[in-house]
């Protein structure tokens, strides 16, 4: 597959189970190494870049990457120290506020519901203000109110010039601020389109693309 993502864009990557969405995200985050291919970030080679450049990427995955016995605040403070962030407390509360869980700062994350922990994890992913934000099915486990809040935060990040890649198989919940989409099947891009197409008729286009791919 080959595609580009500019700053200020929100690219939705849709596909059925096993299409390669998570593999794509993990590869872009450098958690998995591809057997072949290249990735460039900010115009420079990315896969072999120094660890210090990892601060340019934020990732929300299926797992929360949180320690159950630490509070939400302690978890985020730990990550702030790993990233060497100044003004950590202010950043943490701002990130928690963006996803609507500031009041959960003092709760151990092991006691939170799946959706609450997911929102704290989103705060973790955006804490260091990455230029590329990778979201692997971020709406999973979120209630409609939390999804609206997330979409609002994504629109803000887009306006601030951040590049966002979001994977989903739930096309009904594609954010309004999506600028482009890709449809993946078996690790291949079988369809792609622009913002207007992402908003209108995406589900039909998705079904057709997947059906065509299966027939081939």
């Amino acid at each position: 597959m080959s595609f580009s993502l500019d700053q200020g864009e929100l690219l939705v990557v849709a596909g059925p189970n096993g299409a390669g969405k998570t593999t794509l995200v993990r590869t872009l985050a450098r958690l998995s190494r591809p057997s072949a291919g290249k990735v460039r970030l900010g115009g420079a080679e990315w896969l072999d870049a120094p660890a210090a450049r990892q601060r340019e990427v934020g990732l929300l995955s299926h797992a929360t990457y949180l320690y159950d016995r630490l509070t939400a605040l302690e978890n985020l403070e730990f990550y702030a120290r790993l990233y060497g962030l100044d003004g950590a407390r202010a950043r943490i509360y701002s990130a928690l506020e963006k996803v609507g869980v500031r009041d959960l700062a003092g709760r151990r994350t092991g006691t939170l519901s799946r959706g609450q922990a997911q929102r704290v994890s989103i705060a973790r992913a955006i804490l260091h203000d990455p230029r590329l934000l990778l979201l692997d099915e971020p709406q999973a486990g979120l209630d409609p109110h939390a999804v609206r809040r997330l979409n609002g935060a994504l629109a803000e990040l887009r306006t601030a010039g951040r590049a966002i890649l979001l994977t989903t198989h739930d096309l009904a919940r594609v954010p309004e601020s999506a600028s482009r989409f890709l449809i993946l099947v078996d690790g291949r891009v079988v369809d792609a389109g622009n913002r207007a197409e992402a908003r209108n008729g995406l589900e039909l286009r998705y079904e057709r693309a997947v059906a065509r791919s299966v027939e081939q």
């Binding site: 660890a51 990892q54 601060r55 797992a63 949180l66 730990f78 120290r81 790993l82 060497g84």
Partner: protein, 224 residues
């Protein structure tokens, strides 16, 4: 390479997690205490024999209890895939290892702070003025053992048989350290300062060699 800040952050986080799960250290202490106790009653030893086998019993208990600890301490990183959170950070893999290694060393030393007085009492270990030298040996051997344990816990965590694999990997390579701890302790009890220095030197060389190898290889074993 990243500065010491991230390693310190990992150490502080690990200590905080451990303090909230005191049953882990307590389980290790009880288990190790029983090992020490059993050795003390085997064959109805005389006071002189007790003093001779004391260092061996102490190190055997630390070795066995350490396996329990290494597996649990690394399991914290596997829960919720928190290890991936560490790998995502702008921190060199070597620094991540240093943080985990430091945490394991602190936990083992805390365990030994409980076990050494127990062993000294049960085995009537009388080191006279050599307790300082014994403490140095204890720390040096512990640092090496913590390096191996942390490294192999990471290796074993990537398999489906981690509980089986960890001791199989860890114990054979720990033999030089175990010998240094036992023989060095016995040399101190016998007042043989020269032998003690030789065993301490061996443990130091082990720390440098395996500490370096484990630190450099950590990134490879945790990559997917």
């Amino acid at each position: 390479m990243s500065g010491p800040g991230p390693a310190l952050a990992i150490l502080v986080k690990d200590v905080r997690l451990e303090l909230r799960r005191v049953e882990s250290l307590a389980t290790m202490a009880v288990f190790a205490g029983l090992v020490i106790l059993i050795f003390a009653f085997v064959g109805d030893p005389t006071p002189a024999e007790l003093a001779r086998i004391g260092p061996g019993a102490l190190w055997a208990s630390i070795l066995f209890a350490g396996v329990l600890g290494f597996e649990r301490w690394f399991a914290e990183e596997e829960r919720n895939a928190a290890l991936h959170g560490l790998l995502l950070a702008p921190v060199d893999r070597e620094v991540l290892f240093l943080g985990k290694w430091a945490g394991a060393t602190v936990f083992l030393l805390a365990l030994e702070a409980i076990l050494v007085p127990v062993a000294a009492t049960l085995y009537r270990l009388d080191l006279g003025g050599a307790w300082g030298a014994f403490s140095i040996l204890l720390v040096v051997v512990t640092i090496g053992y913590a390096a191996l344990g942390t490294f192999f816990a990471a290796v074993a965590a990537r398999t489906t048989a981690s509980q089986l694999l960890l001791p199989v990997l860890l114990f054979p390579l720990s033999v030089p350290l175990l010998l240094a701890g036992i023989e060095g302790g016995q040399a101190l009890a016998a007042g043989a300062g020269g032998d003690y220095r030789d065993w301490l030197g061996l443990a130091l060389a082990f720390d440098v060699l395996f500490g370096t190898i484990c630190t450099m290889a950590f990134g490879t074993v945790i990559e997917e």
